[in-house]
């Protein structure tokens, strides 16, 4: 239960970092947030509401991936190496499911079609989500151990 709780918090925070990145993007801040809605075929006409909805969807998805991360740790004390590798693996799964498969399917393209520009714009960011998720989870574990001592 403890690792699940830690994973959830880490996932929500990593999702927040991922969503916040879109506020330092070129062009209007938050303009790419509605892409998260597009993965699930959701379209909202109002651009402001669409951005807020995309922002919260990223947080929710971050929380879900955090829970998966926590479940994979099976109540064990994890090392930083394991935390970062598990995070990277989950970041890769995020990229595969959302940025590649769902994005392509919803755009009526072949599921695995990909060009260099799109790969470059999505792959590092999704891996970054995973690294931040793993690192935050490790930090929370260390904090808890320190407070227990």
């Amino acid at each position: 239960m403890e690792t699940l709780r830690r994973g959830l918090v880490a996932g929500l925070l990593a999702g927040l970092v991922l969503a916040m990145l879109d506020f330092v993007t070129d062009g209007t801040p938050g303009r790419l947030l509605p892409e998260a809605l597009h993965w699930f075929g959701i379209t909202i006409a109002d651009p402001t509401i669409s951005r807020f909805a995309g922002f919260f969807l990223l947080l929710v998805l971050g929380g879900v991936f955090g829970l998966i991360f926590g479940a994979l740790q099976r109540e064990r004390i994890i090392t930083i190496r394991r935390a970062l590798l598990s995070g990277l693996a989950l970041g890769f799964v995020w990229w595969l499911v959302f940025s590649l498969l769902l994005a392509n399917i919803m755009s009526h393209q072949a599921p695995f079609s990909l060009d260099f520009g799109r790969f470059l714009s999505t792959f590092p960011i999704d891996l970054l989500f995973g690294v931040v998720l793993g690192a935050i989870s490790f930090q929370l574990q260390q904090q808890r151990r320190a407070s227990a001592v």
Binding site: V17, L84, I125, V131
Partner: protein
């Protein structure tokens, strides 16, 4: 009597300690919150570099060309324009397209790769100080070439931001350096390469 003597000894030690502290600097330790905050700043600075990869994508790096032309015309260092004209712009016949330029694509590829390295290094906290040094050099080059043509603070602040990340080991939280740093420091006791590599995390 002995009590009074030991009390005066303690007083003397305390005064000496205070004098020593006033002549030496107290070591500063960053708190967890501060270093985690710096790690977040590092990620966002890396993301700033990341975004700038897309308007000059390979294979032709066309977006970079007008900026090299501007740098060659408006640099603040005498001779820098001459160097650009005989390297990047050697053989170029047009001010708008890199047609005829013999060295533009390979040199632009070097710039783009360096920016990609900065991005990976800063976003993932992987050899962060190396990435920050590279970012400082790239930002300095932009400052020298373009600061005069745009808001001068832009490139100056980019240099200072990169220098701050050289000074502080921001990759040791929320980054791969957290795993790398202790290993490189331990290996550095025996291996010179590991010791040198440990300077960059």
């Amino acid at each position: 009597m002995s009590l009074s003597s030991s009390a005066s000894d303690r007083k003397r030690v305390a005064v000496t300690g205070a004098k020593e502290r006033s002549t030496t600097s107290t070591p500063i330790t960053l708190s967890e919150r501060s270093i985690t905050g710096f790690a977040l700043i590092r990620i966002f600075v890396g993301y700033l570099w990341f975004q700038q990869l897309f308007w000059k994508l390979p294979p032709d790096f066309r977006g970079l060309y007008p900026y090299i032309i501007r740098e060659s015309q408006h640099t603040i260092i005498p001779g820098y324009g001459y160097i650009l004209q005989h390297t990047f712009l050697a053989g170029c016949t047009s001010l708008s397209t890199p047609a005829g330029c013999t060295a533009f694509v390979p040199l632009a590829a070097c710039i783009w790769t360096a920016e990609l390295l900065v991005t990976i290094s800063l976003m993932f906290g992987l050899f962060t100080r190396f990435g920050a040094i590279l970012a400082t050099i790239l930002a300095l080059q932009l400052y020298v070439g373009l600061a005069y043509t745009e808001w001068i603070w832009t490139y100056g602040m980019l240099v200072l931001l990169a220098l701050a990340l050289v000074a502080i080991p921001a990759g040791r939280r929320l980054g791969v350096d957290q795993w790398l740093a202790p290993r490189l420091q331990a290996a550095g006791q025996q291996h010179r390469i590991a010791r040198i590599a440990s300077w960059f995390v």
